[in-house]
Point group: C2
Chain length 388, copies 2
């Protein structure tokens, strides 16, 4: 345990096959105008859109349509959403989608009534809202980011050439989220598996930091073990409800601020992944997958005790007769085998990174002075090259 | 994962050595009159009382003194607290103490403005408040019950001859809780160790139920491993801040509704423990300690798979060449060894149970139709006899 901390997470979660039944009850807590934010047409094909609209109509709400939220949502799109909120005096933003959509609605909520340059204020200067914000609800259709129970909002500013995250406080967490594992089953295998790795990355980013004994790490190990078990099942049979349900629940707890209580974090894999995403527009979870093994092999000696613990407690590596380095490497080999088993992308050349744009990616990497080792720019390039 | 569930826990936690610094900020959210509920004089001896009074005075609050909350708080005391709340129009009840004090303040909060017989309504009929309730804050000085982040309220009605629990909803959770591990260090060793076992019992009561794969169990295993590790350190050196901090954090998460998400629970050990507490007024955690091993040996064959898992994942028992029964028994032997190591009471004759009052205890046991096996009354007597 390190230092002092606060935990406060007021998001109300409804979980299970009947979770949608609670939407009407929640809608009663808000005014008449609801903005419905979603991505492409998938929720129209799988019936989720119709179910949400039915609940909104039955509750007598005026619906403001806000479709077209893209993966890696852009600040330009955020500004369009802000205009919709202002023009219609929206009382609730209902996000129907995955992390991109929910991240986007937080950005709109904080920016719609902001009189300053919101990009500068939130994503560059990391300040907190000083204006009125708009309540958010979420119907989750894709698993991975944990955005349904946190304040994270990753936005891409194409004009400025940056993909950046801002972590808002509890006032911008979704007030409620509806988590029905069946809603996630129409997601294509590629996106599903990318989500699995995104979860694992959230767990590892928070695990690989600190050298004190901390209850948080024990909880984290439990979540990793559950994810590994269920993802193996789900990768083979995406229709396995139990596995998908456990993964959905793990994803929420992997990034709802619990796992940073009493310890630091790393998050450099996410910074490199964001840079790849900015340049290639590749799926977030896959960008993380391609850089994780090179990154962890690179910093392993700086946090060896934790990599040894990872090997033993998460993967069941037996340490007898082995050096710490051997145990730690064996743990990373287990991670690699699992990644191959569930089918993530192992090399970032498959995502569009090459020697031609590698320096451009490196330029976009934010180097954080945390974790077991603060990278230098040459090290970033080295890691990217090993990820190719 | 089983069925549908809701998770909503809005309690704000301030954790660490500087946590008390947040009290003044929290007090700003409430009206002028604060009732200060606490137990005996210990908080006056260790300085916590003075620190709380200083914050209340600096915030300009009128303080209504409500001392004398006893371990196993009585309904008679609850009614006295209710009168204080009504007579003084209390805006906030600030509990300074352990689970008994916080449980008591929830009971007062729900009963003060209740026009019905509160005992019948809440603890007998398990209904929810339909009246105005009073906000609660907590400064935790003893670890174990988890009452700082849940709606649990166990009250003893001496006239009726029952000790009963009621679980209130989030509206009666403490709005905020201040968790400074140093505040728990003046608790005598006996109470400290009883608290450790109370935590373990909360974990086991929720672990030993269900036969589906559930992320919740993986989290639970992590919490058990952390508790076992830190309690061994703290039992030897109660002044070890890191161990005490980890245990405090584990206790909160052991019973804040997370560990019942997606699965059932048992809670029969608590029912038998409550009956012992009613008859002997023994310390809660110790009553649980004396009955746990006889109880688990009794139901082990009905939930064998989970007892095997407990042995392997919590205690590291190696299963090779052993039957499931042997592995499960070995896990319970590890539990027994740990209990002896940290120094809990192993036999309930030490708490005042004997052949003379054993039937009286059995009469007071509420038999719950949940867990791996629903006991019969003769089985309750058998377990109590084995606990002697």
């Amino acid at each position: 345990m390190e230092g002092n901390f606060k935990f406060h997470n007021p998001t109300k979660l409804y979980f299970g096959e009947d979770a949608m039944g609670h939407l009407a009850g929640e809608l009663k807590n808000y005014g008449p105008t609801v903005m419905l934010s979603y991505g492409g047409g998938s929720i129209k094909r799988n019936g989720i859109y119709d179910a949400v609209i039915a609940a909104l109509k039955a509750s007598g709400k005026t619906v403001v349509e806000d479709p077209g939220v893209m993966p890696n949502p852009t600040y330009e799109k955020v500004l369009e959403g802000c205009k919709l909120v202002r023009d219609n005096h929206v009382d609730l933003i209902l996000a129907v989608g995955g992390g991109s959509t929910i991240d986007y609605t937080k950005a709109v909520s904080a920016s719609a009534w902001c009189n300053e340059d919101a990009w500068q204020k939130y994503w560059v200067n990391q300040q907190n809202p000083s204006c009125q914000t708009v309540p958010i609800g979420a119907v989750l259709t894709m698993v991975g980011t944990g955005s349904e129970m946190n304040g994270g909002s990753v936005i891409t500013n194409r004009k400025e050439g940056f993909k950046r995250g801002k972590v808002f406080g509890p006032a911008l967490y979704p007030n409620f989220a509806i988590l029905n594992p069946r809603f996630t089953m129409t997601v294509p295998q590629y996106q599903m598996v990318a989500g699995f790795f995104d979860i694992m990355s959230h767990l590892m980013e928070q695990y690989f930091a600190g050298d004190r004994d901390c209850t948080t790490d024990y909880i984290n190990e439990g979540l990793m073990r559950s994810l590994i078990h269920s993802s193996r099942i789900a990768a083979q049979n995406p229709q396995d409800y139990e596995a998908r349900a456990n993964i959905m629940w793990t994803a929420t707890w992997a990034l709802n601020t619990l796992l940073k209580c009493g310890k630091g974090g790393d998050w450099e894999v996410h910074q490199i992944g964001h840079a790849i995403g900015l340049v290639t527009d590749a799926t977030h979870g896959m960008t993380l997958a391609t850089v994780s093994l090179p990154y962890y092999r690179h910093v392993m000696h700086d946090g060896l005790h934790q990599f040894v613990r990872f090997a033993k407690n998460v993967w069941g590596v037996r340490p007898e007769g082995k050096s710490d380095e051997q145990v730690a490497m064996e743990g990373l080999k287990c991670l690699e085998d699992w990644m191959k088993e569930i089918g993530v992308v192992m090399h970032c050349h498959e995502l569009g990174v090459s020697e031609d744009n590698l320096e451009q990616v490196a330029d976009a990497v934010l180097i954080l002075p945390v974790g077991y080792r603060t990278l230098t720019r040459p090290e970033v390039v080295e890691i990217l090259r090993e990820s190719l």
